[in-house]
Symmetry: C2
Subunit: 353 residues, 2 copies
DNA sequence: TAATTTAATGCAAACGTTTGCAATAATCCA
DNA sequence: TGGATTATTGCAAACGTTTGCATTAAATTA
């Protein structure tokens, strides 16, 4: 109700006839403050409802105990899961997290990087826009030795810590699986190649085809932002003319789900006529009919590694020298109905890496 | 690379032989600084890579240009969507958002409220835990006139701005719809009554039954945290003994989806044997087979209203006096296959409020 | 040209902490 | 009991801004 209620450390000092420095140390459990004083200080602190001003402390200490996170969007399964993990994990270390969404816009990403720097975050975690190829907006962080960790959608040729999934292997495993289930003509729907993630998966896809003596034709790969609308259009292209493919490897699950819906509408049987594998193991793959095989990326593990690396950087255990270092998180193919069928190998689960 | 690079306003002042106050005003486009000076200042600011220190400014101004948001979890459709809207909308006003998750834990919610206060956020937006019935941890905000807005899961009897969906009507509309489709024995699976949201929906459910001359029996309402596991168990209870219900109104979509899965496994036909309506219009309701009727809550509208109210409070246009004020966002039933069937009324869409 | 108004800039305090160093109080040992 | 050591506490500066007020420079007027 009252207008001027902000209690500060000096209010405590006055009430107890102590100096502010003593109060400050008492609150921070500094070793050479007597137990009695600490107790008294903490008691009145509680009594008058004192709350530390993190801005003041941050200014003085030159650290905010805050980490910034930039992701394309939190409405997508994978970044959402990772964000949650990161936030909860970070909490254990006494840091809190500013989650920001770039909405896959390069301009927004730049703006966010700047405001997060202004907020003097103690570290920055980023999964970039689909279209980020210039990383100069992160230079301020590098130049000032502020820990910088990228995950999932990571830069190429930018000296920085990187944690990513095993996308090459993911593409390889998914494609091999389809081949082993009998597919001879496999379409791949990929994201834009500006994002290294997708180029790795494409490479894996091509390698698997080659290894099994199947041709990889240019017109069997589609590059597009992996939205529902684009997926539908691409389906119309794919099934607009013969021959139909007998397998589709989609680089995300939204696309895979849309393919299922398209096939249902067009009376194409999945998996009998065409087999489908998606990517990310979004929980939605389990509730559609037929359920969709998908490549799991272990988001929990990735989130935990992000925090671990970040903490090492902050605590100076790792060289703060901005040097490229890449950590690969394994993947695992989860087989479901959408790719069921006669198997050459008879293996039930294809786990790798 | 260099160790000490943090450029400040005094670096600019020195370079231009100006006072820091002039530089500060120049950067903030203060009216009585000459255009020439502003230009010169901004030029070297850019040249030396100056970035304002938001901590220092915040300390001095007693405002951080930052808003706090506490939601149960961002992996759920509804809070995720609203968080996105709020963040993007807030950006337009020059505020940034600290998104925090309570994980539906009361203790975490308390801790988060405290750290956000310490961070001196200029406003706080909250959707509470399922179990929050004591709101004392928000008192600091109220007492210091820091704008406080609750949405969706809101407190009862706590003087504060509240924006919520029309849950009573939602319960009423969903139930009425099932009745009109011919259901005579409708089970309701509700969340815990500690959350006013659910009690409102239950009230709507009961009112609809009564209005159509149907009895509302105690043992046809289940109260539980609306998880997948609980939903499955409850299904086993419901269909563990005769008579089976012919309609189920579930208070969230995860539950509705699980019911569908259960029915499929048990060879119960939806909607022929039992009709189902969920809540929130999660996009997943559209991809399962059969697709699920659900109550849409207009998350975008709610998010926008939250920001609008918050901005009014911050700009002092609304009375900062912490007085209860409730705003109701309409709902709309989206009919899908899970509740299809003969309709008494023949109406195609039941839109209300 | 001098007096007056207006425009532009500078001084210094303040925001709430933390911390190196100095100072005081308490304890120990001979 | 006095001198030395150790345990507590206090002083004051610093972190990077912003802003009320004072000051100076420029423009206007008589």
């Amino acid at each position: 109700m009252s207008k001027r209620t902000e209690k500060t450390i000096v209010d405590i000092a006055e009430e107890l006839q102590l100096s502010v420095s003593t109060v400050s140390r008492a609150l921070n459990d500094h070793p050479n403050i007597s137990a009695r004083t600490k107790e008294r200080v903490k008691k009145v602190a509680k009594k008058i409802g004192y709350r530390p001003n993190a801005l003041a402390a941050g200014l003085r200490n030159n650290k905010s105990k805050t980490i910034g996170l930039i992701v394309p969007r939190i409405s997508m399964f994978f970044p959402a899961t990772i964000s949650t993990i990161i936030q909860n994990k970070l909490q254990e270390f006494g840091y809190n997290l500013i989650i920001c969404q770039s909405n896959d816009s390069y301009e927004q990403e730049v703006a966010l990087a700047n405001t997060l720097y202004s907020a003097r975050v103690d570290g920055l975690v980023v999964s970039t826009t689909l279209y980020t190829t210039d990383f100069a907006h992160f230079d301020i962080f590098r130049n000032n030795n502020i820990p910088l960790v990228f995950f999932d959608r990571v830069p190429k040729d930018y000296n920085v810590k990187v944690i990513k999934g095993d996308d090459y292997r993911g593409g390889y495993v998914a494609t091999t699986h389809l081949v082993e289930k009998g597919c001879k003509d496999i379409v791949h729907i990929s994201g834009p190649l500006t994002c290294c993630l997708y180029s790795d998966r494409v490479a894996g896809y091509k390698a698997a085809l080659q290894e099994h003596g199947l041709p990889s034709k240019k017109n069997r790969i589609f590059y597009q932002e992996l939205t529902r609308e684009n997926a539908w259009q691409t389906c119309e292209k794919i099934f607009g003319q013969q021959p139909y493919p007998d397998g589709i490897f989609a680089s995300n699950d939204t696309t895979a789900i849309t393919i299922i819906e398209y096939c249902r509408k067009m009376h194409l049987r999945v998996p009998e006529d065409v087999k489908i594998v998606g990517y990310s193991n979004d929980p939605r793959t389990e509730i559609v009919t037929p359920s969709i095989s998908s490549v799991d990326q272990y988001p929990a593990m990735m989130g935990e590694r992000v925090v671990a690396v970040l903490m090492e950087l902050i605590n100076g255990r790792q060289s703060a020298e901005p040097r490229y270092s890449q950590e690969i998180i394994p993947i695992q193919l989860i087989e479901r109905q959408s790719s069921a069928g006669k198997s050459k190998t008879g293996k039930k689960k294809l786990t790798l890496s």
